[in-house]
């Protein structure tokens, strides 16, 4: 699967658009490149699919069947989407009939509005984007590269796009896409690279999530009419939270290891134990592993 090794790119004598990029897109993965406008994401993708050659470094391991969805697809073309897709299928080596029925199927699945037989140039941006997406999966690609695929597509097509990406990666293919919104890359990618000022860095896990077991203890007034003592619950080891649940009722959450000690204190001070339940809590540790450099 494709691997960029120490890749740098500039056009002519212009500024360096990308510098020392090391990226791998493993089989079965969905890799996202997040970055602002003009950060070099598109140039990076063009080198991944082989449209553009790196000025320095090398791109190796590109598979045979590659598909590419450019960010703007607005052909000034009188051909219909169906005819266009049939041509693209034939260029990929399909028979006319197979290409045409596959095109029908994909356009139905993506819910193309504006007609399969309308002229391509009359399609809206979103519908043209659907045609661009359809041409990429006429033949199951081993490497699917999409430049800003979420922009322009309507909500129903978002679901299909996510399905298509999952299908390709599930079949052992590699998927790479760009987006400028981190929420999108986080939701769909197994790995995210950040592209900024010509540098590409692999982002670590979004935030390290710690999970641990918690015991929730519900305390109440004793039945015999006694009044429990005041206790500074927060000072007891392992207590995570204390919440009042109505008059004379408390819910104390404590780490499981410290539950027995807490119960002992509660009983000694005259509280009645109403309920003890186990729960799991997760806790986000922000940036505990800062995104290491991809190299």
């Amino acid at each position: 699967m494709p691997r960029l090794e120490a890749v740098s790119k500039r056009y002519g004598r212009g500024r360096w658009i990308l510098q020392d990029v090391d990226v791998e897109i493993p089989a079965g993965s969905v890799v996202a490149f997040a970055g602002g406008n003009g950060s070099g994401k598109s140039t990076l993708l063009r080198m991944v699919v082989g449209l553009s050659k790196p000025t320095r470094g090398a791109v190796t391991g590109r598979p045979a069947v590659v598909s590419y969805v450019p960010d703007r697809f607005s052909p000034n073309e009188r051909m219909s989407p169906l005819a266009y897709l049939t041509h693209m299928g034939r260029i990929r080596g399909m028979g006319t009939h197979a290409a045409s029925s596959r095109a029908h199927h994909l356009l139905d699945r993506l819910a193309l509005v504006g007609g399969k037989d309308a002229e391509l140039r009359t399609l809206s941006k979103g519908n043209a984007q659907k045609v661009a997406l359809a041409q990429a999966v006429l033949v199951q690609p081993q490497l699917l590269v999409l430049d800003e695929p979420w922009s322009g597509l309507d909500a129903s097509a978002h679901g299909v796009l996510a399905e298509i990406m999952t299908e390709v990666s599930g079949a052992g293919g590699a998927v790479a896409f760009t987006d400028h919104r981190e929420s999108v890359t986080r939701a769909h990618a197994s790995q995210t690279y950040t592209v900024k000022q010509g540098r590409v860095t692999l982002r670590g896990p979004e935030a390290v999530v710690q999970r641990y077991a918690v015991t929730a203890v519900a305390l109440g007034m004793p039945g015999h009419g006694g009044v429990p003592q005041e206790v500074e619950w927060g000072t007891i080891a392992g207590v995570l939270s204390v919440a009042a649940r109505g008059p004379g009722a408390l819910l104390v959450e404590v780490e499981q290891d410290h539950a027995d000690a807490l119960l002992l204190v509660a009983l000694r001070t005259g509280w009645s134990v109403v309920d003890v339940t186990r729960a799991a809590r997760s806790h986000r540790v922000q940036d505990s592993v800062a995104g290491g450099n991809a190299r």
Partner: protein, 218 residues
Amino acid sequence: MIALIRYSFATVLHTQRYLAPVLLFAGLLGVLTVNGSGPLPPAYASSGGALFICATWLTIALTSLDDPAQRSIVVVSAGRSLKVLIGSISTLLISCLVLMVVGLVFPLWVGSYDVRAVDLLLGVEAQLTCAFTGVAIGVLCSRLVFRRQGYALVAALGLVMVLLFVEGLPPVNRLFTMMATSSDSAELLAPAGGMMALATALLVAAAAVTQYLASLKE
């Protein structure tokens, strides 16, 4: 390759961008050969010249059709950009073959020439020479090399003028000079064949240079 050629033909036929160069060809052919008489070679030199200009224009029109995103999809689908370029050139050569037949037959139909088989053969050689050279110039002046259409047009016009009118410059001008001055077609077959070979080499070189320059820009 056949799929690429079919796609090229489909796009060019849909856009009708072929109309202007083809009309120019028809116009030149009409003006230069109607009511002609005498030996055929000078008439075929005229239809060759018409085909030369038409082939250049047609090539620029066809190679500039696809918008960049559309072209990138075709290149990725086909696997290599060279394959797409060869597909375009093949499409153009097939179109030129059709025009060549018109260029060969039309003078016979509208004029009263002395027709011999060897004249027809010379005509084929001359027209192929012009078609190859025209496509070569067109490819070099296409959007793959020139991003600005204005510069491409000026460059193409300049090259066409140079090849047509610089005296003795092979292949086009030298060929036309030979055909205008000699009326013995059999004698011209070998030198015209040489010009055709030169034109073929020019086309291959132009395609290679275009591919190289285009890859630098990517």
